[in-house]
């Protein structure tokens, strides 16, 4: 119970701090915080697949891109309402994830990873080549941030970054809450069982393949949400969102922060975005510097930053156990 209250307090403090950001800091910090939250949504959903279920996908960039293009195309052809656009983006990501997942969950481990990689790169070349629909290598540009109109009367403008910030924060908080609930639900336990021992899960009466597909689609929905929000933030959807280098980001971020906690991928996202900004000031080849940091963390901090810190914390509060 004590740990539960502590987590709730920590979550409230972080939420308050995030609410304060637009009032206390400059435009650039607001933008960076939004990037962290977008990557956080992407990674926290992805970690339901990797950390909770033990499936390594190299293709989630495709669902991120599906979210972005889904919102963009919906804006061009149907409506520029941001909430409807986000819903369209998530729906597009879910459909694509259902298709890819049905193909891929028949296999596990390296075969699963390679199949998702192949599907992701197929999506990338579609976005890259289908110029008439997607704008090809230019991407889909000129996506607008129309005001959010609710129940006919209320109109909330999100054109300025300070305004759009709260739009992103709302979906970020929602995503983290949903991921938290899933991790502590019966479904979450069944997923952990599949990670620990898939064969035994079948003998426990769990239809393993269907559960894998469900969590694959679910994490695809999170990716689609992040993608559609990025399309609104950057006013465009780019084919490189579907590239495998982008698919690798939630993996790196989860490793950085730690696979086994909810906070892990979130902390990892903050470190990742901040480090990219800092290292990019000194060198174009920021991946080189980032690689070194990742090496240190993987070799020195087993369980990621969050895992290591909470182990230290446990040691400090329970001196009797040594």
């Amino acid at each position: 119970m004590k740990a539960q209250t502590r987590n709730a307090v920590a979550a409230a403090v972080v939420l308050l701090a995030l609410c304060a950001v637009p009032f206390l800091s400059g435009k650039f910090a607001i933008y960076l915080t939004m990037r962290i939250m977008l990557l956080g949504i992407f990674a926290v959903g992805y970690n339901l697949l990797l950390g909770q279920t033990g499936l390594l996908s190299f293709g989630h960039g495709a669902f991120y891109a599906a979210g972005a293009y889904g919102l963009g195309l919906f804006g061009v052809h149907v409506s520029t309402h941001p909430l409807l656009g986000v819903a369209a983006g998530v729906a597009a990501a879910v459909l694509l994830a259902l298709l890819v997942g049905t193909l891929c969950v028949r296999h596990t481990e390296i075969y699963f990873a390679m199949l998702t990689l192949a599907c992701g790169m197929m999506a990338f070349s579609f976005f890259w080549n289908a110029r008439e629909i997607t704008g090809g290598d230019d991407g889909l540009i000129g996506i607008v941030r129309a005001p959010v109109s609710l129940f006919g009367g209320i109109r909330m403008p999100i054109g300025k970054d300070e305004q759009f910030y709260f739009f992103v924060l709302f979906f970020f908080a929602l995503s983290v809450w949903v991921a938290h609930r899933i991790r502590h639900s019966p479904f979450g336990l069944a997923l952990a069982g599949i990670r620990e021992n898939a064969r035994r899960s079948e003998f426990a009466g769990v239809p393993v393949r269907r559960y894998r597909l469900a969590v694959f689609v679910l994490s695809g929905a999170f990716a689609g949400l992040a993608g559609s929000l990025e399309a609104l933030l950057e006013s465009n959807a780019r084919p490189f969102m579907a590239h495998w280098t982008h698919s690798a980001e939630p993996i790196l971020v989860s490793l950085l922060g730690g696979l086994s906690s909810l906070a892990g991928p979130l902390v990892g996202s903050a470190i990742f975005v901040a480090m990219r900004e800092i290292i990019q000031r000194f060198t174009e080849n920021w991946m080189l510097g980032f690689g070194v940091v990742l090496l240190v963390i993987i070799m020195g901090f087993r369980g990621g930053v969050v895992g290591t810190l909470s182990a230290l914390f446990r040691k400090a509060t329970a001196p009797g156990e040594g």
Binding site: F187, L189, A190, G193, N197, R200, E202, F203, A204
Partner: protein, 260 residues
């Protein structure tokens, strides 16, 4: 007695040229505690693997409570009431003892799909989980991760996870392997107790003849994928073919029981 719980019809299996099951016609009656014995490679594990869906059936048919289950996937057989434990401990290592048992309990109750509801609110299922832990004497260890259990306790957990699916027919693959005598007696007592309650019918694969002859009401002797002998412990002990197969192996055990 009525209809048998499970029947097989000409069930066969080959691994390359090695035959591990040949035209097996078997039936398991409700409530009859059965053991399957046989020398190494006789096809005991193969038989369990075929019946529970671990191995695809190459030839023959399996019926359970009147339904053809030959091609049914594992999890559907489990839902129908066929479950098993494993010879080599095969639990969920990083999860706690209670979570290990909770997974099949949730699946059987049809609750494991729920993504938003908190686990801690499933109080009825939590009680059911504790009742099962009580049965296998693991309640004090409920919050211990499975990896931290002793070998004997792991074996108990192995049986507990299988029991948690509330099977009608439960196959135990060498449940007492590697246990010390105290643990062994405790587990066997538990099995007898649960068998007496009548909901679960046990089929046990064992090497240990002490266990087999003290526990079973029926013994099936397999040899090279075929049924060598099938009957009460007394009949099996008296069977000449069985003694021939076991000659120089476990024969002393068999004779010792004959003399008692």
């Amino acid at each position: 007695m009525g209809e048998p719980l499970l029947t097989t019809q000409k069930l066969s299996n080959h691994f390359g040229k090695v035959c591990t099951a040949l035209d097996l016609d078997l039936s398991f009656e409700r409530g009859v505690l059965t053991s399957i014995i046989g020398p190494n490679g006789a096809g005991k594990s193969t038989l369990i693997n075929l019946l529970t869906g671990h191995l695809p059936v190459q030839a023959g048919k399996i019926r359970f409570q009147g339904r053809d289950i030959t091609r049914l996937p594992i999890h559907k057989r489990v839902r129908m009431g066929i479950c098993r434990s494993f010879q080599i401990v095969n639990v969920f290592p990083e999860l706690t003892v209670a979570q290990n048992v909770m997974i099949p309990v949730l699946a059987r109750a049809g609750r494991s799909w729920r993504p938003i509801r908190s686990l801690s609110r499933e109080t009825a299922l939590m009680q059911e989980t504790e009742a099962i832990l009580e049965k296998v004497a693991l309640l004090p260890e409920r919050d211990t991760p499975a990896t931290a259990l002793s070998h004997g306790d792991l074996r108990l957990l192995e049986v507990g996870v299988a029991l948690a699916a509330a099977p009608t027919l439960l196959f135990l693959d060498e449940p007492t392997a590697g246990m010390n005598p105290v643990e062994r007696v405790r587990l066997l007592d538990n099995i007898r107790q649960i068998a007496r309650e009548g909901r679960t019918t046990f089929v046990v694969v064992e090497h240990d003849m002490d266990v087999v002859f003290s526990l079973s009401e029926r013994i099936i002797v397999l040899h090279r994928g075929e049924i060598l002998c099938d009957g009460t412990p007394g009949q099996v002990r008296a069977d000449a073919k069985v003694r021939e197969v076991y000659l120089g192996d476990d024969v002393s055990d068999l004779f010792r029981y004959r003399e008692e």
